[in-house]
Amino acid sequence: MAASMSSSCCLSSLRLIPFKRTFFSSVNPPSKNLILRPIPSFLRTIVTFQKIPTVIVPPLSASSSSPSSSVDLQPIEELPPKLQEIVKLFQSVQEPKAKYEQLLFYGKNLKPLDSRFKTRENKVEGCVSQVWVRAFFDEERNVVYEADSDSVLTKGLAALLVNGLSGRPVTEILRVTPDFAVLLGLQQSLTPSRNNGFLNMLKLMQKKALSLEVKADDGTSESTTDEASVVEVDLESKPPSVVEVEESESVSKIVALGSRGMRIREKLDKELTPDELEVEDVSYQHAGHAAVRGSAGDDGETHFNLRVVSDAFQGKSLVKRHRMVYDLLQEELQSGLHALSIVAKTPAEV
């Protein structure tokens, strides 16, 4: 699960999907047109894949604070440079009290967040204290963060993240895993409890970075309200960020494919020579939810349902098949494609 970042990404994220089975169901849609199975209400939480190519540390092993845990940690070199510096600084400080001092020092020097940005969208969920994070692009499309908290320790942690991640491009930010928290040696940030503000802060910052990118891609100029379309798979986080699919989806809405859709189709066609290939743009479903959530809606091509029947899948496990598709569509995933729902079969299985 460790080292290679690009192609193993989806594999590792696959492993952590709790509701995997509903999504990759092998129920055959009765007709040629892809029909979205009505998902039972209790499983209605759609699991989509983030394009975060990271190794997510399973919560259980995160609870052991020793660096010699069995899970390989993300190499420090993959972190943004400022964050690397910060981690090294903390590693050099051995005494816990001194670490806290360092943390508080960061917090003290954090640029204050204007109170008008202390909104619900900017609040980090699952914190006992109140933490707000704001993100916006600078002229070079690097993400700039601002944060605040009423708890000085949390403010220190937020400052650490702000200092470490601000001014960096989206892809770099998204690559960061919470692993580095282990290296900081701050015990409190490691408990995989529901009130783990640090993890949630990082997640929110990544989520905001992603949504900035998406919005910028589509040219929609927005205020930095939260984009609802990306759902994180997390065994610890609270449900508020779950995106729900409307129940009436027994018939797919036929949407003409845009440029990305066409590219996807071409790529898959060329590489997999499928017997059957269906590419359905279902981004509207998530746009609808963004609207429900209050922001102005995202019309970009972000979510697709794919149905591929090809010999290329012969002898490969479900996970391997999905990985194949993902590998082929890496470019799209890097440039705004959020998530794919994939049905991958061999001709014999149809």
């Binding site: 009290k97 003290k108 204290s129 009423d150 000085v152 015990q187």
Partner: protein, 469 residues
């Protein structure tokens, strides 16, 4: 106790930064020396010739308290969240599983008979512990929260509907209630249209009894209040409240989670209609609690959960239900846990609840006084006085310091375990105008040294954070 108090340096005269780690140890040592020479509780029967406090004696029964966390000795001050369990209770639970585990009520064989006997004996022990007239008035539940929900769904749904009168029935609560005694009533009120009214606090920071009295009218069907508040440490005069409520035909539910473990609670004397408590706050295991309900009330209540045990006869199209308490105990109960709860009742009774209460009253006063002497500390709830006895807990805030920071530092640097947050009392915190508070809560296995360690650690924490301002 006066001797001890004098030895503890007054914080107002010391600059915070002057309290170094070295001096804390010397303070602790000198205090513990003073401790041994002062007698703190009533006649103690020990092998030692010198009198030792209840806390010191009891500690021996709790192995969990003798450990180090984060490099410091554990000082456990979170008993209001859950209590620690003495060896006797753990043994009872282990014993059950090791020697006579078997399903209850249904079997004929030896093990089953034994398990049933012990289970029902536990019920009797609980009944005796709160002086219920009949053990059938004790319904075992998963915890107090479930017990309140039981009353809400079973009694509430059928009794809180508007009758012939147009006006909606009234349920009276206080703003200081635990969520478990607010949310179920909200759910019921959404279904039945009952109205919930909340008694607010008076200037002493206790629920305003006069306001409560005035609120009670013919429309009132239920008064659901805490006995002892888990945040304010105040107690309500339940006996009087019951009298006022019964005058208008209203019932009273008492949330006794913070009172049953700490003092004598006599349901007949209180004359409450319903009373709930949790085992895990009174040295018993988690997973079990109980509802006390007057027989005639329970008899008239429809079932809460359906299943085995609570039935009499089952047909395809209908079933008939068992008598209480079985009617409200669907499925296999937490047998081992109930038996262990019985053992907890025994353990506490052996020490004597009056003795425990007496010890805690002293400890409560000591905690309050030493905490109040720390600068910039704001303690919630009433001041202790002649007429006001606080429970042995203090919810507080330090000016300019977030309770989470406080609790984190106390834990990481000093091994002191307190709680920070809203303590399942968000409305109360909102009323007090704060987001969260820190809370140190004691039980009879805590000692004055624990309090001293806490205060010293607190001072260190405050000075640490202050140095960054």
């Amino acid at each position: 106790m006066e001797g001890v108090a004098m030895k503890l340096p007054s914080f107002k005269s010391l600059a915070p930064t002057a309290i170094s780690v070295a001096s804390t140890f010397s303070i602790r040592r000198s205090l513990s020396f003073a401790r041994r020479s002062s007698s703190l509780s009533a006649a103690t029967i020990t092998a030692d010739s010198e009198p030792v406090s209840l806390g010191h004696r009891a500690r021996k029964d709790f192995r969990i308290l003798h450990q180090e966390v984060n490099g410091s000795k554990l000082v456990y001050l979170d008993s209001a969240a859950t209590s620690q369990k003495p060896a006797a209770v753990l043994e009872a639970l282990q014993n059950y599983y090791e020697f006579y585990n078997s399903n209850v009520h249904r079997g004929i064989h030896y093990l089953s008979a034994k398990a049933t006997d012990e289970f029902e004996l536990a019920r009797k022990k609980v009944a005796r512990f709160i002086n219920a007239s009949d053990s059938r008035e004790i319904v075992f539940t998963r915890n107090a929260t479930e017990a309140i929900n039981l009353v809400a769904y079973s009694w509430g749904l059928s009794n809180l509907k508007p009758g012939d009168e147009v006006c909606a029935p009234l349920v009276i609560l206080t703003v200081a209630e635990h969520h478990s005694c607010i949310v179920p009533w909200q759910i019921v009120s959404q279904k039945t249209g009952a109205v919930l009214k909340f008694v607010t606090l008076n200037e002493d920071e206790v629920p305003d009894i006069d306001m409560l009295r005035e609120m009670i009218s013919e429309k009132t069907k239920l008064v659901a209040v805490h006995h002892v508040s888990n945040v304010l440490a105040s107690s309500l005069p339940i006996e009087e409240i019951v009298v006022w409520a019964h005058e208008v035909g209203a019932k009273v539910l008492v949330d006794a989670c913070q009172s049953v473990p700490h003092m004598v609670v006599d349901v007949q004397k209180l004359n409450a209609d319903f009373l709930v408590a949790s085992s895990h706050k009174m040295c018993g295991p988690t997973g079990i609690g109980f509802l006390y309900g007057k027989s005639d009330l329970l008899l008239a209540m429809p079932p809460f959960l359906g299943g085995g045990e609570m039935i009499s006869d089952v047909f395809l199209d209908h079933s008939t239900y068992a008598e209480p308490p079985s009617r409200f105990e669907a499925g296999t109960p937490a047998i081992g846990e109930a038996i262990a709860l019985g053992a907890a009742c025994d353990y506490l009774s052996d020490i004597g609840m009056p003795k425990i209460h007496e010890y805690e009253v002293e400890l409560a006063k000591y905690l309050y006084e030493t905490l109040a002497s720390v600068p910039d500390v704001r303690i919630y709830g009433p001041r202790p006085s002649e007429s006001v006895q606080r429970a042995a807990l203090c919810s507080f805030n330090v000016e300019g310091l977030h309770p989470t920071d406080l609790a984190t530092f106390l834990d990481q640097q000093h091994g002191v375990a307190i709680r920070s947050g809203h303590h399942c009392a968000q409305p109360l915190h909102r009323y007090l105008g704060v987001n969260a508070s820190a809370r140190a809560s004691l039980y009879f296995y805590n000692t004055k040294e624990d309090v001293d360690s806490f205060i010293v650690a607190l001072a260190d924490t405050v000075s640490f954070f202050n140095s960054f301002k």
